[in-house]
């Protein structure tokens, strides 16, 4: 049994049918554009706008072939860029945020509550306030047009949301376990690696999946920092493709759009539960 909702008021069958119809209608309207996008990407160009049907009359993968090589650099290359950046971001976030969360929840040190308050404060501060100096700094470092500005900040726990998420989880791990480990002679490092991290796989997985998806989806940072098309992420590539095709090849554009969403969709299908629980427990954005 996964559905645990109980009808509070004992609705009548009629109301229930109405609720059903309403929810079904809303989901259809919501999904229609997505389904249309996917189905159109398999239609020949002339069929896309001649019918609203979701089932292609002629099924073709031609649009994918055209789109894949539609820019001077193949989309495959940009997917690889995106994947590398997203995976590095995952590693960076997991390492740095779990360390910070461990310090905040488990270690006693001077100034802990002061830094904790500041950390919460950074969650409130819009990134725009630091954007320009950050850009100028990375420009000075010679990092612009490399993936470093996209990746290095993740290793410095810039996404305080993940610290917060992990703090919530770590707080649920009984302190007795730490104390038992202290009695067993374990120091902070050993407790972190042997007790806290192994017990935190659910939250680490949640943070990893969110990290991947958000980095994959990120448009703003790559837009600012990456100039050469060989370094583009899939998102940047897609947006360049919009300009390049000038909307003359909708099929190819929709095919590439579908492809850029596909990794997220797969992660969504596989980790649906984790994602939804992550949202529900922390009320995180998106």
């Amino acid at each position: 049994m996964t559905e645990t909702t109980v009808d509070a008021t004992g609705s009548s069958p009629l109301l229930r049918a109405f609720a059903y119809a309403a929810v079904l209608a809303v989901s259809f309207v919501m999904l229609y554009p997505l389904l249309w996008m996917v189905s159109s990407s398999f239609k020949p160009e002339n069929e896309i706008f001649s019918t609203t049907s979701l089932i292609p009359e002629t099924f073709t993968t031609d649009a994918y072939r055209r789109g894949w090589n539609g820019l001077s650099v193949s989309f495959g290359w940009m997917f690889l860029n995106s994947t590398v950046i997203a995976l590095l971001a995952v590693v960076g976030n997991l390492v740095s945020c779990s360390m910070a969360a461990y310090a905040f929840t488990r270690l006693q040190f001077k100034g802990r509550s002061f830094w904790f308050a500041l950390m919460l404060g950074t969650m409130m501060l819009p990134q725009h306030a630091v954007l320009i100096p950050q850009y100028l700094m990375f420009l000075n470092f010679g990092w612009v047009n490399t993936i470093l500005p996209l990746v290095v900040p993740k290793f410095l726990a810039i996404d305080a949301f993940f610290i917060f998420l992990m703090i919530q989880f770590f707080r649920g791990i009984p302190r007795d376990l730490d104390e038992a480990a202290v009695m067993d002679g374990a120091g902070p490092l050993r407790i972190f690696f042997k007790i806290i991290l192994p017990l935190s796989t659910p939250v680490l997985a949640t943070a990893a999946v969110f990290s991947f998806i958000w980095t994959w989806d990120d448009f703003f940072a790559p837009l600012i920092y990456l100039n050469d098309i060989e370094k583009y992420t899939a998102q940047l590539g897609l947006r360049t493709f919009v300009d390049a095709t000038a909307q003359s090849d909708w099929g190819a554009l929709l095919a590439m759009s579908t492809l850029t969403i596909l990794p997220i969709f797969i992660l969504f299908v596989v980790f649906q539960r984790l994602l939804i629980e992550g949202i529900a427990t922390t009320g995180m954005k998106r």
Partner: protein, 307 residues
């Protein structure tokens, strides 16, 4: 006794020191990030906002000139404020109402709850990507699917919603509302927190359906509504990608989708007016801070907290 007390005290201090060292050791990545990526840049952008600074020249101190210009003689700032406030004030309440309504429907104990929950959540997860902005451009284009459907159903020939300055912002609001799923999930979680016996007690007391909704569900849900509203508002002020993609980065037609962040981006990275853009950034920070502060002040009057 006194003699061997001294080394002990040293040991004592050492174990204490080790505690602090461990704490700062684990915190060091964040600390470094805080100083280098947050505090330093924040201070620096505050300073830059008081200068005239482009790519080619060193920052030149101009005092509050940037802020003065923003306040008095910047028509595009006014356009951006207009667009952004329209977007925030329409998209946030609509999204909240949608999310709450669907959450309540789903909470009725419908079969397949997990399916619907997933379907409604999907747009929130992918909504920020370029692909969706591309799709949106198509949906609301002159020959887009919306008009095709309108044609098929009502024989109505719709305009290009994107290209029309008076409707383009609403396509973006629709895109925001389409992503109501994550708020809905938070509402669902909130609804499940309400103890079942409270409804049972209420129905024994003779409270009907609507009375139960207004007297139990809604008041007990106000903290969640408040939380969602604050988060959504902050996010809405920061929206960027859809407007950028839909308007090709121009904020057009005729600045009708010139989101504040888009204007900020243009000033910083197209016109390279770093000083002025910094001032714009701090104005946005101030607006968001003011909005958040107002929400928290208002919370006293309508948010119900358990004692």
């Amino acid at each position: 006794m006194l003699v061997d007390d001294v080394p002990h005290r040293r040991v004592h201090r050492w174990t204490h020191l080790r505690q602090h060292l461990a704490g700062y050791g684990f915190l060091s990545p964040w600390l470094l990030g805080f100083f280098v990526l947050t505090l330093g840049p924040a201070a620096s952008s505050l300073y830059l906002s008081l200068t005239d600074y482009g790519l080619m020249s060193a920052p030149r101190w101009v005092g509050a000139d940037n802020y003065m210009q923003i306040a008095t003689s910047d028509p595009r700032f006014r356009a951006a404020m207009n667009v952004t406030f329209t977007y925030v004030l329409l998209s946030v309440p609509l999204k909240l109402v949608f999310a709450l309504a669907v959450a309540i429907l789903l909470n009725r104990g419908l079969r397949g709850l997990n399916w619907f929950r997933a379907i409604f959540y999907l747009p929130s997860l992918i909504g920020g990507s370029v692909a969706i902005a591309v799709l949106w451009r198509q949906v609301f284009a002159g020959d887009g699917i919306l008009n095709q459907v309108l044609m098929a159903l009502f024989s109505y020939e719709g305009p290009s919603w994107i290209a029309n300055p008076s409707t383009s912002i609403y396509t973006l609001i629709a895109l925001a509302v389409w992503q109501f799923g994550s708020s809905m999930i938070i509402f669902l979680a909130g609804l499940r927190q309400i103890p079942q016996d409270m409804y049972e007690a209420a129905s024994i007391d003779g409270a009907g359906r609507s009375r139960q909704f207004f007297k139990i569900t809604l008041p007990l849900l106000t903290p969640v509504i408040f939380f969602n509203a604050v988060i959504l508002t902050i996010d809405a002020f920061k929206a960027f990608t859809p407007a950028f993609v839909i308007s090709d980065g121009t904020g057009g037609p005729i600045d009708s989708t010139l989101f504040y962040t888009l204007y900020l981006y243009q000033e910083a990275f197209t016109n390279f007016r770093f000083g002025y853009a910094s001032a714009l950034a701090w104005v946005l920070v101030a607006i968001i801070a003011a909005f958040t502060a107002l929400s928290f002040l208002s919370a006293k009057y309508w948010v119900h907290y358990d004692d």
